[in-house]
């Protein structure tokens, strides 16, 4: 073996990612893989057709539950203090960098705040990218909570102009998803209001999520979730 038991813990993640990455939708997933003996032909097209149908249904019925995210607007000033700005990542070879601006580093459990994603496009040409609803989202994550940020499956054209542009994002101190059916073990039950429950107080990281890889992921911003404000 080219590795030992000592490094097993570290290697497992890398190996699983390498195996998983051996298939890609950019090429036929069967390419590079030996056909299974007596196996069926790959059904990727069926999957894609199905997903397209699901996506269309979701968009038409508008049932996808992340409508809280705002659509991107360019050069919107949200009146934010730059105090919570994280320095942009070193510019990538594409000369497109991003940073997160948050109005505060603390947030009460169950509440929300509006921040913005600031993009510096130094490529000297506008970038035309595809997305659905919005290009960016920011969610709170921790060592034990990894939010599942999902995007509507549609394709809308977006243009990132040259220079600096900013995109408002709403950061919520609550779980992203919940179940109306409390018997579903994998989900937390929704509140009576239909909203997901508040995140427990503690230390989190505000992380940038993108509908596709548009910019290098900027450093996350530490955010402390404080006790829920009591309602009078």
């Amino acid at each position: 073996m080219s590795f030992d038991a000592e490094t097993l813990d570290e290697r497992l993640g890398d190996v699983l990612r390498e195996v998983a990455d051996s298939i890609s939708l950019a090429t036929d997933p069967v390419v590079g893989l030996r056909p299974r003996a007596g196996g069926r032909p790959a059904s990727r097209h069926t999957v894609l057709t199905l997903v397209a149908a699901v996506a269309a249904a979701l968009v038409v019925t508008g049932v996808w539950a992340d409508s809280r995210r705002s659509a991107p607007r360019v050069d919107v000033s949200a009146g934010l203090s730059p105090a919570s700005t994280v320095p942009p990542q070193p510019k990538t070879k594409g000369l497109v960098a991003a940073r997160l601006d948050l109005p505060s580093r603390t947030i009460a459990a169950g509440s929300s705040m509006v921040g913005r994603v600031v993009v510096d496009n130094d490529t000297r040409h506008a970038l035309h990218v595809g997305g659905c609803g919005s290009l960016f989202a920011v969610a709170l994550a921790s060592d034990t909570y990894h939010p599942d940020v999902l995007w509507r499956l549609c394709l809308q054209p977006f243009t990132i102009p040259t220079g600096q542009s900013s995109y408002p994002v709403t950061i919520e101190a609550r779980y992203l998803w919940c179940s109306a059916n409390a018997s579903q073990a994998v989900l937390r039950a929704c509140r009576a209001s239909g909203q997901p429950p508040a995140l427990p107080p503690g230390n989190y990281q505000a992380r940038l999520y993108q509908s596709s890889t548009i910019v290098a992921t900027p450093p996350s911003v530490p955010v402390r979730v404080t006790r829920q404000r009591s309602t009078p």
Binding site: M1, S2, F3, D4, A5, L8, D9, R11, L12, G13, D14, V15, L16, E18, V19, A20, S22, I23, S24, L25, P29, V30, G32, L33, R34, R36, G39, R40, P41, A42, S43, R44, T46, V47, L48, L50, V51, A53, V54, A57, L58, V63, A65, D143, T144, H146, D148, L150, L176, W177, C178, S179, A180, N181, Q184, A185, V186, L187, C190, P196
Partner: protein, 137 residues
């Protein structure tokens, strides 16, 4: 979609099956979308369950799957280790994939597999012990 197929591949070692499981999971999501408010978790649970069901069925009639990848697609070292992961009992393999690929916590894995967190801990411990035993000279 790609994420779903990749998860299926790690659980089945078979791209065709992985695609089928992803397809079935998306079909289920489509059917139950009104009640499902955590689509990714729903897809993950469905794919894990389908892979486990299939694996239990296959275990009765054939040896453990081997990843069938051409040299160059996956490095030899990765191939070596994955070949040790693949024959693990179905739940142990699921725990390893969910922990090291999906990055889930014990609680999240327990919710995905529908078992107590203590069981996840012991499954992970047994799986790692087995893997260490296999790779030690």
């Amino acid at each position: 979609v790609l994420w779903a197929v990749r998860l299926g591949l790690l659980l089945t070692s078979d791209v065709g099956l992985a695609e089928d499981h992803a397809q079935e999971a998306f079909l289920g999501l489509h059917r139950h979308f009104a009640e499902v408010q955590h689509p990714r978790a729903y897809l993950r649970v469905t794919i894990v369950n389908l892979a486990n069901r299939r694996r239990r069925r296959d275990a009765r009639r054939e040896a453990a799957h081997r990843l069938t990848a051409e040299t160059g697609t996956v490095s030899d070292a990765a191939h070596e280790l994955f070949d040790v992961v693949a024959p693990l009992p179905v739940k142990q393999r699921s725990v390893i994939v969910l922990r090291y690929y999906e990055g889930l916590s014990e609680t999240e894995i327990a919710a995905t597999l529908g078992c107590p967190a203590g069981t996840v801990k012991s499954l992970a411990s047994r799986a790692l012990r087995q893997l260490r035993k296999q790779i030690e000279p």
